[in-house]
């Protein structure tokens, strides 16, 4: 059942690089990451790749496989023809460090700007009472494994480094959504989303939803409802009037 797989792997660093050809024996049931590991073990011990759990739970082994952003540990070789050459390249949206490893610190920077969870006080009996139906939608967002595939596929930043300063990206919109929709949270991040996170730059092409390995409906369940909340907050005439009377926000 095993065969020799042809692979092209991008090797290089920030200074440049190229695709190298490898032929590697593979077995039934294996995934792309297995083939990369075998290249490491038997041909190029210094081939750089990130990985941790190899079970689709940590989101470390993100790369572009035949041009599509995917997790290498969840991409089965059986989805390709044995005669097909599989090309693996680093995530395009982030700067290359070496080979298949990129500098994803942009995501950590954007995450550190998100105002933290701030719960309402506990009930008199010391509990928080929340119905499962209200926690369900937060749980969908909490499935995110931070593989950053949605970030790398997003055309707002994929080929536009200049947008990275003011666009947080789909992963961060999921993060804003989970906090905004958390039944216990009391913070309001709507102005921030509009002014600093670049929510308006998303034109809902749903590429992020398509690549999400956790099948989170990023566009429909996170981004669009956030857009609605921001619009309601910023442009609803009653809200506008209320704010004029009570206090001025920074955006006015």
């Amino acid at each position: 059942m095993g065969y020799d797989l042809s692979m092209r792997v991008w090797r290089g660093d920030a200074g440049g690089g190229d695709l190298r050809d490898y032929s590697v024996p593979v077995e039934e049931g294996e995934v792309v990451l297995d083939a990369i590991h075998r290249i490491q073990q038997t041909q190029s011990g210094d081939l750089a790749v990130r990985w941790n759990c190899k079970a689709g739970k940590c989101g470390s082994c993100s790369m572009e496989i035949n041009g599509k952003p995917r997790l290498a540990c969840m991409t089965r070789l059986s989805t390709f023809e044995p005669t097909e050459t599989i090309t693996v390249t680093p995530l395009r949206t982030f700067p290359v460090i070496r080979d298949l490893v990129t500098d994803v610190s942009f995501n950590y920077e954007m995450a550190s700007r998100v105002p933290a969870f701030a719960p309402r006080p506990r009930e008199k009996d010391g509990t928080h009472r929340v119905q499962q139906i209200d926690i369900d939608r937060v749980q969908e967002f909490h499935k995110c494994i931070e593989c950053f595939l949605c970030q790398t596929v997003c055309h707002v930043i994929r080929d536009h480094d200049e947008n990275k300063q003011e666009f947080a990206g789909p992963r961060m919109f999921v993060k804003y959504a989970e906090l905004e929709m958390h039944p216990l949270d009391t913070n309001d991040r709507r102005d921030l989303l509009r002014e600093k996170a670049g929510l308006g730059m998303c034109n809902i092409t749903k590429c992020c939803t398509e690549v999400c390995p956790e099948h989170i409906k990023i566009t429909d369940n996170a981004i669009i409802p956030l857009k609605e909340r921001v619009v309601d907050n910023s442009y609803d005439p009653l809200v506008w009037l209320g704010r004029k009377i009570r206090r001025r926000s920074k955006s006015d």
């Binding site: 039934e28 073990q41 011990g45 210094d46 490893v101 933290a116 010391g126």
Partner: protein
Amino acid sequence: MSESSNVHTAPIHATAAEVHDYDVIVVGAGGAGLRAAIEAHESGARTAIVCKSLLGKAHTVMAEGGLAAAMGNVWPEDNWKVHFRDTMRGGKMLNNWRMAQLHAQEAPDRVEELEDWGAAFDRTEDGRILQRDFGGHRYARLAHVGDRTGLEMIRTLQNRAVSSRIDVFMECTVLRLLTENGQPGNRVAGAYAYWRESGTFVQFNAPAIVLATGGIGKSFKVTSNSWEYTGDGHSLALEAGADLMDMEFVQFHPTGMVWPPSVKGILVTEGVRGDGGILKNSEGKRFMFDYIPEVFASDTADTIEEADRWYEDKKTARRPPELLPRDEVARAINSEIKAGRGSPHGGIFLDIASRRPAEYIQRRLPSMYHQFKELADVDITKEAMEIGPTCHYVMGGIRVDADTAAATIPGLFAAGECAAGMHGSNRLGGNSLGDLLVFGRRAGGAAAEYAQALPPGKRPQADDKQVKDVIADALAPFERDPAQNPYTVHAKLQNTMNDLVGIIRTEAELERALKELAVLNEEAAVVGVEGHRQFNPGWHLAIDLRNMLRVSECIAMAALARHESRGGHTREDYPAADPVVFGKLNHVLRIRGGELQLFAEPLPQMPDELAELFDAAPAGAADEKKASS
């Protein structure tokens, strides 16, 4: 990296000597490390986390089933005493009683704290935190988020740490603990590390170090553990002169995937059995009824009817034998496979499809559904899973004080899987996540207090010669022939440990293992690597390999010395538990004069008021003398 974030990656332009000063350095960013860092930071200590992977990728992320805490939300009869008793009995009474007590008492507070920090636990009908059944726990007590509780926990703690602006040095691996005058056993002065991304070195000066580096699974071929689990903390502590304890006890989780080969060992949560799944052999027999040990007989159902009734009726029915502690179930599966009643790919069948509706399975076990569908083409709502034992957890670790998590050298603390004592000879499912939080918090607090009590002038200084040695040692593989490949030595080590120090052990095999490990040590000492220092996995492995070998030697030595079977240590040549000698001692390992030495230390005795809990219980641990297998 921008200045507005405290999460640091390797500097682009490496300086000759990158040095940072802190009060507390936490090594590891899983549940224990993050919780320790949060506590140290909130205690006012200047704190940093140093971790091997990107923040948020640590092995805690793989924890599935939940966090055991006697909150009593589902069964009001539950309380810390019942949880304490379950934990001690699960550990076959070899646990440090004080740790088991603190854990049972404090776990509920730690769960509520996570909720206050944003964790979205599953809910009961009346809106409180829902709790699920797990092996060895008398009541449904695991707070959970579907079957991805670890992810929820790590993300919640990660968010808390980032919003507290704790400094994080990620993809940065600690090479050695620095001690005063460079001598083992002296006060801790800091840690020396390298950035994985750039290959450059970085020195952390700190009087207090918390090790939270997790486990050792990567020494075994079939394991549920990620690459990070190379026993770094165990090895760093031992090298610095601290004691390890209970290293013979390694948990083989009963249910790992067995097919396809590339996923062999990946965890299948105990939650499958907690939610109604059963184990069957190739003859279709529900075989666990044949493997109920005497010590658990009075707590375990002996008919299928009673077992099935238990899920709804815990008052009159006893628990199904599938939910015995993990060591018992793993041994039973092993026996069935050996007797030729295994599944086509050498496992056993785990069946929930015929027991619960598809909708229920998908809701309760979403990531198991996903995992089998995508990696094995198996729909777990329609067919049984094939599973078998997989190396999952090490009960042994750094010997610590129960209340402060202090190791046996000044300034060193340890929490989580790399610490010993809490779980005795066998850990109950669901007791790990609570362990991380309870003792992570205690370690962080005690480390901060220790550091803050030392005025700047009184702090131990790093020793320049020690630093030079560490650097020379780390770079040596580049000077050698890359034909001596670290990957090859690693593969041999995994085979040795799997075949000779695995789930069932004998004297002859353990002695052979120690001989093979000695040869592998020589081979590891001459491995070479190709390429340069920037993100070079071959080099990283050459460094990790030493830790794996050192820890493996500890496991084999302690296993050879324990002439009994207990928990995660089963000897074919000593099949019974020995309550007279070995039931009263812990094995301690330390390096003295360059030699690894093993000592027997008497087990700390629990006070009478706790001991009484076992007399009053339906099945006392006193009859432990009956063989547990």
